[in-house]
Symmetry: C2
Subunit: 358 residues, 2 copies
DNA sequence: TGTTAGCACTCTCATTCTTTGAGTGCTAGC
DNA sequence: GCTAGCACTCAAAGAATGAGAGTGCTAACA
């Protein structure tokens, strides 16, 4: 994948060509590059170089007498080159800083705020998916009885609240619920949600005995936990700004846009697409690299927010291959950094985290 | 607004013409109507009638030698005629029946389910907005302390849960929170949320004294209540299936679709649009009747779900003027009926609602 | 008086042909 | 190795044409 066979001059020409194309959406022509004084070479020499770059697979012509557009390989070269050189509207993003620091915010709320802001700043459709709630640590479990034979189950995690409704067969009084919550907290505190579910499934009988007094609850809790995971698989995806796609000239034709827009409405598909692993925290999948006909003209930029090396949430930005890579790369880097920062804060002991009362 | 000046024959021709156009999107021509044996008249006679209908403002020609399409007046005639004669995929809708009966479901969850289902059944973009939470009755108020100087505030209503996070200056212990919740419940139970806010604002000092022991909380609760109303103004709108608009031939041009699609992403605008009052439970606003240039080619079908005559939630279906009025009318009627049915259930005392324990 | 057959007229849409010009590749000379 | 110059290519836009779908109008008929 290295571009060793490119002379320094070719690299420079190619970079400028792609940059130009990203900005203007007009095929790259020798004349235009000369008149923009992007080079001191003559248009004829440039033509030779562009011709060679085409033969090497970085560019392609739509027809004999047209300018050239980048191929996936061309974009890939460009992305690898700008990698550490990104611009972004950081000021616009600053506003979500405090959202990361507010831990009690509902997790589905959190991903909304993040997606809204990134979509606003980048001007592309943005998807955020909550991928690994099973890796979140349990801080406390609370059960709140409601009228009508139901109760609300709350799980506090360092990243925010998870909640779910429990169906009961009888009404329990408030104190029983509080006590049950306390027992469950003592039992599962410091485990991850995944570990808790594992533990419940493997040591079912053992725990049931241990929880003895609240065994009645326990059956419902188990049930609620399973459906909670399901629930978050569905609710844990939020997409914003789909129609921003239509601003781009490549989507002036409804037929072209339809497939992508429909995908942007399909939460389940989005989830698998965005959470799919990629090397590095931030990665771009360009056109055919996505192995999906509907997306052959798209690029998806992905970032994974991790705790202890495991992905908790994934952010995806979807646009045409001709997207603003530098800006997007900057925005995603900001998010990942902020996420890691609050992560550190937490490990070192956040001074706002006072005495607990569970 | 009456169509008294129309002969029976003209009414029949007009109705069939509009019905045809809604189904096929092809301008109505005398030839086509004859060959579909929708009439025993000759095409020439039909042409005379269509001509008259055009002069009366029910139809219009795009150009001299083209067929005719309905005007807003034409659609309006059609809608008024089918009013009580609607077809809908009721089986598909049946599935949401139980959602209405589950009271503890989070209200923002409820509107999602409803919008998803209606959009699926009608195949049009659907918006549901929670318009009148201030008219909901308070069943109980609960405060749940969390770590990190915050608490969760829950308000139970006959329609579902409302929740919000409270910022605290100090950590309160669990028992204080429960007690405070109980006191607040006793104080505000059976009031509507609107009455509670009123009461808090006018009798601020009085209540503060009354709540004496929990006065510390009270300031935060007030704050939380205000932001709760704001929060639901923003979160209380859910839109589904925007891209379904693109299935319709009138939106094959991106420029045409853009405005409406953008509107479908703007929650605040949607809210005002959908909640706007209309006569009757179900109403259609056709094209220019909407007084909005962006929507001049759209129809919006609205339904208001009411409790004691006041609108709590509004459902809107957005499509081209050439939308399937009968199907949509049926779907909306179903929703309104179901809503009223559970309302009644509740007034008569739901047998599932057991002894309370607040 | 209402209905209809027949015909002239209109206007869009698809097709074909032409022209224009932007852009390339190649070659010969610097 | 670079570049001026020229022949060549091809898409895109415009003009011309014909077909056909549909109308309005008129005159004749029941």
């Amino acid at each position: 994948m290295s571009d060793i066979d490119l002379s320094e001059r070719k690299k420079q020409i190619l970079f400028q060509a792609v940059e130009d194309y990203i900005e203007n959406a007009n095929p790259i022509t020798s004349g235009a590059m000369v008149s923009k004084s992007e080079t001191t070479l003559s248009s004829a020499t440039l033509r030779n170089e562009l011709n060679t770059l085409e033969q090497m697979g970085y560019l392609k012509q739509l027809h004999t007498s047209s300018g050239r557009v980048p191929t996936t390989k061309g974009y890939r070269f460009f992305v690898n080159t700008i990698k550490d050189n990104c611009k972004a509207d950081l000021e616009g993003l600053m506003k979500i800083k405090n959202v990361f620091e507010t831990r009690t915010i509902n997790l589905t709320e959190l991903i909304k705020v993040v997606a809204d802001k990134i979509s606003e700043v980048t001007d592309y459709p943005t998807v955020v998916s909550l991928g690994g709630i099973d890796k979140l640590e349990i801080l406390s479990i609370k059960i709140i009885p409601l009228m009508t034979y139901q109760a609300l189950m709350l799980i506090e995690t360092p990243r925010g609240l998870l909640n779910n409704t429990l169906e009961l067969q009888q009404n329990f009084d408030e104190q029983s619920c509080i006590d049950a919550g306390r027992v469950l907290t003592n039992k599962f505190k410091s485990m991850t949600i995944g570990q808790m579910i594992d533990s419940i499934e493997t040591k079912h009988q053992e725990i049931l005995t241990e929880l003895n007094e609240y065994a009645g609850f326990f059956e419902y809790v188990l049930q609620a936990l399973v459906s909670l995971t399901k629930q978050y698989a569905k609710d844990g995806v939020y997409s914003k700004g789909a129609t921003k796609l239509l601003k781009n000239p490549e989507y002036q034709n409804v037929e072209q846009a339809k497939d992508v827009l429909r995908l942007l409405e399909d939460k389940e598909e989005l989830k698998t697409l965005i959470e799919e692993d990629s090397d590095g925290d931030i990665a771009f999948s360009i056109g055919d690299e996505l192995n999906d006909d509907r997306l052959s003209e798209c690029t998806i930029a992905k970032a994974h927010c991790k705790i202890n090396g495991e992905s908790i949430a994934s952010v995806g930005i979807i646009g045409p291959k001709r997207m603003d890579y530098a800006k997007i790369s900057g925005a995603l880097k900001f998010i990942v950094d902020e996420f890691n920062k609050t992560d550190l804060l937490e490990l070192n002991g956040d001074n706002k985290k006072g005495d607990k009362n569970g």
